[in-house]
Symmetry: C2
Subunit: 273 residues, 2 copies
DNA sequence: TCTTGATGCTATGTATACATTCTTTAAAAG
DNA sequence: CTTTTAAAGAATGTATACATAGCATCAAGA
């Protein structure tokens, strides 16, 4: 029947998905630079798919937020400022806060809370060894992602789950976006411990049906990720560990960098001209 | 140059957009029923576009939340429970609350606040006449939408603006989703007045840089929309005024309707099996 | 009569050909 | 030397043809 098992993989996954994954990798790895128009024909060559699935993939990546439609046609890679990223993280935190509040207010059975607690215990086990090894960091990222996914599902709200997934699609906005970047820094260990405390508190709050507390702690939890971002951008030593670095508008691209906080009275400036 | 002005419209707008609008109308008007698989060929006939733009439109409508991908291929119209809708509204309110807080914390110049105040004054003028005519209701919907759009932009946060737009894309989650449905009810007049008070307060809060107050009032403002929803569903007299009614899972479709509030201890129930 | 299997059809996923539009480059005029 | 216009080329949007996979129906056997 099947001559080559390699071909088998090619056919089991649709060309559209294959093109989407390939293009996303190219964007995050920096092969496609921000602001640059994406050539469909070039994408056809690099992905191996035909123009139709490439086109579908481009549409999906635009909805995902990685691409921007060009008025005259086609797509370009989106560029993000530092504030765009911190806003995206705060946005995710707000959404996760809402999910935690929903979970607390609507009640969660002990059986549903169990996987969360197992996840919590696993991270506790990981943090017992200090200093934390690079492998432990990697495990932490996986467990942290799992914890956030489980917490989100606890809200029992399909629309909210959907929106959180969309908000976490941006790689730098995801719960573990900037954890790996500063794995070598001494502050990182403390931040991990504080983050785990947040995890513990949100479970406690949900268990006791304290909606406001659950919401507040998840918001604060996201601000920890913002701190991670700042830390990672300041200590650019291990910056190669994180993807999507190429998407960040650096100070060299435009005039000033930290003038962002002062553009309150400058009219409509701040939008890309 | 242009022989037929009718053709002119056909060419100025892309076939993809045309198909998207036509399909959305069909979905919201109920021509396509929830759970039903959408036939591409049928869509080609009804929209007049070819299969390629129809396909693009289907992908975009899925990202928009109106369609759901079928694992075996193709798309079906999504169905929404009453709680899905109220959650979507609360979600939008949370996002708008964040936008208001951003605006308040980061500061807004008087010149930027001016259009908001004009909008406020226009609604004030509208509400002066009691009882409010059906035309006034219609004007209110437009002004209300404008107010919310202006407020969102005040956040100066492209990622947040994008997410709010996405959250408001569902017709029943948009700021004025259920206003028209109960235009004849006496409670409607009061709700409009209360809503306008919220508008006034949020502007005041932003002006005085009271972030928490601005956020809280926008959340409460969205809960007014939830009340509108409940009111509209209970008084089904003028239900034909609002679109997307066909998407709501009614009590006749499944077992009970108001058992939604009691499914806390029932394990994994509540999810569509 | 019910169940299972096979065959045929239909619908989706993919590929490619075609037309229109936008962009870029070059040449000419001011 | 600069600017504007025109032409050519390339890239996107659209349409259609083709293959494959799923689904339904019908028939045969238990």
């Amino acid at each position: 029947m099947k001559a080559a098992p390699e071909r088998e993989v090619d056919r089991s996954v649709s060309q559209t998905v294959k093109a989407q994954l390939a293009l996303r990798d190219q964007i995050l790895s920096g092969s496609l630079r921000p602001g640059e128009r994406i050539s469909e024909l070039q994408a056809v060559e690099t992905t191996g798919a035909s123009r139709t699935p490439v086109r579908m993939a481009l549409v999906r990546l635009e909805e995902e937020g990685l691409l921007e439609a060009i008025p005259s046609g086609g797509f370009m890679v989106k560029a993000f400022s530092e504030r765009d990223i911190s806003d995206s993280i705060e946005l995710r935190g707000t959404l996760e806060g809402l999910a935690a509040r929903f979970a607390a207010e609507r009640g969660v059975s002990a059986r549903e809370l169990e996987p969360l607690k197992e996840c919590l215990a696993a991270i506790d086990e990981l943090l017992r060894q200090i200093p934390i090894s690079i492998e432990a960091f990697s495990s932490y990222v996986a467990l942290n992602a799992r914890f956030h996914a489980l917490l989100t599902e606890l809200s029992r709200s399909p629309p909210l789950i959907r929106q959180i997934d969309r908000a976490s699609a941006l790689p730098f906005a995801s719960p573990s976006g900037f954890v790996m970047a500063q794995s070598a820094l001494p502050e990182a260990q403390q931040i991990l411990i504080i983050g785990q405390e947040h995890h513990r508190v949100v479970i406690d709050a949900i268990e006791n049906r304290e909606g406001a507390r659950a919401e507040a702690v998840m918001r604060e939890h996201a601000r920890l990720a913002v701190r991670n971002l700042r830390l990672a951008l300041r200590n650019r030593t291990h910056l190669d560990l994180l993807p999507a670095l190429a998407l960040i508008k650096t100070a060299t691209d435009r005039g000033q960098c930290h003038a962002l906080h002062r553009d309150l009275d400058s009219g409509d400036a701040g939008v890309d001209p």
